[in-house]
Amino acid sequence: MALLSVRDLEVKFLTRRATVHAVNGISFELERGDTLGIVGESGCGKSVSSLAMLGILPKPAGRVTGGEVLFDGVDLLKLPDDKLRTIRGRDIAMIFQDPMTSLNPVLTVGRQITEVLAKHLDMDKDQAEAEAASLLDRVGIPSAKNRLRDYPHQFSGGMRQRAMIAMAIACRPKVLIADEPTTALDVTIQAQILDLLKHLVAEEGMALILITHDLGVVAGICARTNVMYAGRFMETAPTAELFARPRHPYTLGLLKSVPRLDAAKKERLSPIEGSPRDQTKLIDACPFAPRCAYEVERSRAENPPLEPIDTEDHFVACWNPVPESDFPKTVSLSGVRAKRSSSGAAAKRAPAR
């Protein structure tokens, strides 16, 4: 059985004016050591689905309305909050987007890490402090022992994100969810943080879910990538396969709107026209159809299911998948990896809902 298995997860936000269908039935499985990227533009439901898995959706508006999240065979969505609390942080931990605001400004960094250790691993003060120091050291903070007494504002952005990571990995979680861990950092620090994550995941054998709008980030770390749009997975495939043979027009659009080092000279950057769908109405049609160049009659009439295409682990939800002739043209860079761009151009351009 898979370590983490999400089935048909549905999340809605109920407000007085409208219901927002944020996540509309996503499924995936994760084994130890897996690295899964979830890519999509702002508001497509990436973060919400991870908050839902941990049972920390904003209340009272956010509701999980369907599906199950099986962790070690236990459905997290059915657990009472106090049971779930023992899993959060110990077995599944999360790293957030903005390190500037994700640490409590009035508690020392050390206190915030020892709090987790004391709670989940029953360590006493001295043990927890020693462990916290070794954690900070592990994530690359120099003279870690002295920095425990520092407050978050005495750390730079990159160091704060390192401290956040130390907090998240404090209990050696089995699953680490990183929600846009590098978005708020500048490019050099981004690379360092991604490197750190990569090493930690490899050394600890954790499973990693990396949520991002940045295809470059995914390319560097994730073995597998799920492309999300309007609360659904549009395409899921091994990352290399996805970059080379994107079968969903949305994936293609994302790839084309980001500069690539290995792009052939003739390739031009082209943004995805239009903006994301209004998610207050759930209609039986492909959600991407209004912005899609490959749209066929059926796209407007019926929602395409996620079905295998080409190989057995490449899935796409599309009535008219991108033909081979339209795949991005690349030149061989012999060993140079796709550039980590500092932004997903398409995601940035589309207004957030």
């Binding site: 942080g89 110990r90 999360m94 605001t101 920095r147």
Partner: protein
């Protein structure tokens, strides 16, 4: 990790600074606040060392009884009152009462407001609605009127008066705290704390509250000023402490108001003392607000 090391070195160069140290720095460069601190310090010292500062016991008759007591002189800095007591000594001992009243009533208001506001802000829902409507009703009644009602209910006495004035402050503190808790509740670090499994009560006490109390401290200083005025007001209206020998500034004013034209000094000195004490507290309060309020920060 050479970059991280460089960062570390750079950071060690600047002196460690926290919210309070920061605030202190800002207060230090605010002339108004400095004046306030000096004024209040003077009063506090006078209160603590009243026996040393005051030339006579406040209740000792040092001159003769007189309808028009003698005014300020070299011997009696602020003259004598109708019972022939040294007025300067009475004003000095009155400082003790006023400061005590300010501190205790604010402590009462602050702690009740803290509990009520935190409950409302953190629980939300109908609890919040119920609590805040009650607070609205309390706010709709003028503070002094509410205090008069409470004193009538609780009885006259220094302690009862402090409680009454404290209670009139509860809605102000409660609203303030509820507001900042609502704002903090949605903060990223709270979500992050929840994501590592910090339970609800701890979340409120360790994470949300310490980030929400700064405006309460500012309000507390300002509330101390109004509390002192309120108590003086109550005394002036004849609802002050029952013991007539207590040198309460408000009562001293009330006793001599009718003879303002004959013995102006009896009104002038306690009146001035109230004004200066309240002014000092307000200056400190405003200075603190400027130092702490993130909206006023550059």
């Amino acid at each position: 990790m050479s970059l991280a090391e460089a960062e570390a070195v750079e950071l060690q160069l600047e002196a460690p600074s926290g919210l309070w140290r920061d605030a202190f720095e800002r207060v230090r460069h605010n002339p108004g606040a400095i004046v306030g601190v000096v004024l209040i310090l003077t009063f506090v010292l006078a209160a603590i060392f009243a026996p040393a500062v005051a030339p006579a016991d406040p209740n000792e008759q040092v001159g003769s009884l007189a309808a028009n007591p003698e005014g300020p002189s070299d011997e009696h800095l602020m003259g004598l009152d109708k019972q022939g007591r040294d007025y300067f000594s009475r004003v000095i001992y009155g400082t003790r009462l006023s400061l005590l009243v300010g501190i205790v009533s604010v402590a009462v208001g602050l702690s009740l407001g803290l509990i009520v506001g935190a409950t409302a802000g953190y629980r939300g829902g109908w609890v919040d609605t119920l609590i805040m409507r009650v607070m609205d009703i309390m706010l709709a009644v003028p503070g002094l009127l509410l205090a008069i009602g409470l004193v009538t209910l609780l009885g006259r006495g220094l302690f009862q008066i402090m409680i009454a004035v404290g209670i009139t402050n509860v809605p102000i503190f409660a609203r303030l705290l509820r507001g900042s808790i609502l704002a903090q509740r949605e903060a990223d670090y709270v979500l992050a704390a929840r994501s590592v499994g910090v339970p609800g009560r701890r979340l409120l006490l360790r994470h949300i509250l310490p980030n929400s109390v700064a405006p309460m401290i500012v309000q507390g200083t300002l509330a101390m000023a109004t509390a002192i005025i309120d108590v003086a007001g109550l005394s002036f209206l004849g609802l002050g402490p029952a013991d007539p020998s207590l040198p309460e500034w408000g009562r001293m004013l009330a006793e001599s108001a009718s003879r303002l034209q004959q013995s102006a000094h009896l009104v002038l000195f306690p009146g001035t003392a109230i004004v200066i004490l309240v002014l000092g507290l307000n200056l400190i309060g405003d200075g603190l607000r400027e130092a702490i309020d993130p909206k006023l920060r550059a």
